[in-house]
Subunit: 579 residues, 2 copies
Amino acid sequence: MHGWSGTILNVDLTTGTSCREEIPRRMLEEYLGGRGLGVRLMRDYYHLDPFDPAMPLIFAVGPLCGTPSPTSARLSVVSRSPLTGTIYDCSAGGRFAWRLKAAGIDLLFITGRRITPVTLSVTADAVEILPAGSLWGADIPTTVAALTGRGSVAAIGPAGENGVLFANIMMGEGNSVGRGGMGAVMGCKNLKAVTVSGDRKTVIADAKLFESARQDIMRLFKASPVIFGPLGISEFGTPVLVDLMAQRRMAPTENFSKTFFEHSANYSGPTIKDVCGAKKDGCYGCPIQCKKSSKKGKALPEYETVSHFGALNNIDALHTIIRANDLCNELGMDTITAAATLSAWGEIRGAYPTAGEIPCLLNDMAFRRGDGELLSLGSRRLAATLGHPELSMSVKSLELPAYDPRGAYGMALAYCTSNRGGCHLRAYPISHEILRKPVPTDRFSFSGKARIISIAEDTNAAVDSLVACKFAFFGASLEEYAELLTAVTGVEYTPQRLKEIGQRIILTERFYNCANGFTRADDMLPERFFGESGSSGDGIDIHPIDRTRFEEELDKYYRIRGLNVNGCFDDQNFLEKQP
Amino acid sequence: MHGWSGTILNVDLTTGTSCREEIPRRMLEEYLGGRGLGVRLMRDYYHLDPFDPAMPLIFAVGPLCGTPSPTSARLSVVSRSPLTGTIYDCSAGGRFAWRLKAAGIDLLFITGRRITPVTLSVTADAVEILPAGSLWGADIPTTVAALTGRGSVAAIGPAGENGVLFANIMMGEGNSVGRGGMGAVMGCKNLKAVTVSGDRKTVIADAKLFESARQDIMRLFKASPVIFGPLGISEFGTPVLVDLMAQRRMAPTENFSKTFFEHSANYSGPTIKDVCGAKKDGCYGCPIQCKKSSKKGKALPEYETVSHFGALNNIDALHTIIRANDLCNELGMDTITAAATLSAWGEIRGAYPTAGEIPCLLNDMAFRRGDGELLSLGSRRLAATLGHPELSMSVKSLELPAYDPRGAYGMALAYCTSNRGGCHLRAYPISHEILRKPVPTDRFSFSGKARIISIAEDTNAAVDSLVACKFAFFGASLEEYAELLTAVTGVEYTPQRLKEIGQRIILTERFYNCANGFTRADDMLPERFFGESGSSGDGIDIHPIDRTRFEEELDKYYRIRGLNVNGCFDDQNFLEKQP
């Protein structure tokens, strides 16, 4: 009989001490790992300022990690975001998660602040806090190259050191812990990098059940046109979406003032493959291999990146976009927020940044000098400071990604209900509104969207706790992943139980946010989307969103979630009632 | 002809660079100095997280500093508070302000974050960033003793180093930059202390006018019973208020659940003088000398401190209160918030801290260990985390001082309208409601209070920009201080012009707060004051406050200020229209 267990490694940088601790079995069963467990462990800390020395920075793998479960070499990083002020998590792949698990650790819980810059080395037998020396100030490739002998690397670049509010933590393999500024939280601790290595094996309780579930998933992947079709993400990576969003007239252009960019074919999936000879790449053991890299081995940009450095900034040259992507990755900054902030700034000053300006501006952002000082705060603070708060295209200070909400009303609602701000990864209604998976829905209607989105949020919260990749769910479903989980842990799970766990995570996150002052007013789109049309054409009309219908559907979402009309909790003792 | 000028010393700790810069003349005329100038210079920074490396920490003297103007050896420290999230300023005396001015500096503007702990040395000729070495970790007396050879010292203790949200910056002479956690902002920059010395003289434009205004003020001081009377603050310091608040049945007791403490005479002004032989002490050149120190030369506690460690925590022993005051001063923590947070915690756990526990708890707070981890966040976060948000007696997360709002309705309103949270120093209606200065008002009525408070807020904002001491205004008025200012600067000022400057400062602060999400809901008292009676007796009834009347008067305040019903600005371009 297999006993499911999990280990926390606590590291206090202030005192320089560390200890291993067992995770209570009930907490594992009820929160799984990754995002769920991280969010649960933030219970005593969510009131802290994101840059408070005592703020935890949590790296958490899930129960599937270390097994041959498809797409499960991932972890979640959890803390509070300095950009949004919300509780924050981000899922990332690469090899780091798998090596952390092989070091015998399920969750790395870092608190405190080191007085001089350090790196943290974690192996199965030892934890060492080492001087960072001249690595402080170095870019990501230099840092990774210097540390890679110690195992997998998670590091910050100059952006994280300097407190850029959307600084990333970068995995040595090029994957990002992006969007919410986890790199700035790490920088504030004077922690340049974490390395992990180990050789422990993850035990599987029921190998036969595991293998049958794994094969089911592989079969479903192969049958999915979105994954392995001729225009699938395995072939072209996420930029395959470029042409699709152009056809649907919902490609955010010039700071969301238009929804169609006539030069978008310059950076479509097929063009990138032609020009750069994109090689398949991906996370450890993943069959999909959605990442693409150039002949020189550099990671090529994702859909959001090409679209936002392209259409959103009125840039048509692929090489400029690729250079911008490289720079963000080297300096350790989020590409969506960097590009969206430049675009907001461009609209306010009356000129979008030119191809020549962009590299300088990105460097100035990371080092917070000149115009970069304001740009480093993201679009919400920048636009407010420049007297045009209405021109930040963000929700809860998080910049919207590359799906114009006027072209997909489910996405419009999901941007607003998301606990971490305007993001496409909490619920991805694009899946049914555009990709027709698992069933098509009317993209210009709010009907039924509140319920679909609340279910998708629950599902994704569970997926982020397993931790698996959301792309797996273009083929497989919670059905097969529940089976995998049962096989690995020896504990019976059903899709329904996983969704309940997801719901608990969503509500816990929302409770933290409400306790920190977030209300209905924060679940709101920028005015532009209610007042201006997009770029109609090709028989498609892109109208402004009907505010009344939006508000009605938001009301419905709150009712489904058991929240009051303000999006908050009547029951102040909600947390104490959770396991 | 005298030319009024002012110098900023910019110090960027990240790059280790510094430069002197002239303050534009118009900015001096329209914001004076101190709080006003600091608030004006926060315009590009108010969106930053308080612990962002780029967050400025501003030390600003005013135009009267360095002259023999009574009570003007003061400065304001300005930044954003990690405790309240509001724009924040605090006025402090001692000798530091006067020496900063003598080094030729009107405003010290510190940004960035040092990688290793440092101290900053400022003289008329040089700026040096020096390693703090083993001073990091040291308490305030040790730090001051080590650095006092370099001039006047402003330093943080362990509380500031560890990020306690109400950590003070302590002046070498014992004065505090208190309440809002400026010490934590300084700690986050790895800046242990600033020392200043210099010998430059401040020029006075019209020496004759100056001397006549100064003598007017001295005459008014001498005629003021509150200042120099037999029960005045010069004789007994602020603890003279203990008996007065007991007689009025408005001494906050046991976390504001009562308003009378039968043992308060144990720590009254006369008792402290009897027991400790209180010697007069005070800021450089101040005629009032309101500070009291013990035979050993240690600063004795202020009124707020004795009342909150005493009545609020049900502690009747003077020596326990004095020990708590000493510890807070040595560790560098605000006494009001420390005491009020202990009291909230005491009510929640069902037992107020005992005399034996208090020293341990204060140490744990400063080092953020054990129960101190939660206590270090202040009462609002503590009470919310423990499931009893209603038991934090705070406004905008700042703990209320020792005047129960049920005993003075003007104070009730002023706690709420204050831009930095529940504080008695933005408007001090106690002056007219209790001390009958300049005229008595009915303490149990809201009538006319909105207007009186808005005028007092404007006046105090001007006083904080001169920078003078509020105690001076128990005797003198803006009339004489406008004359002093005219004499020093050569620019014509009237009381009315000073109030207009004050109003601009108040509105600018409020604009920043609104831009950071503060609304009417934040201008609200804890529920207790609307629902529970105080300790009636001696023919005085202490009723709950009538919520309707409170809200009406708040509406009136907003109308007077030109704000909308939500306490916010309809005009988003307010800032751009200001000089």
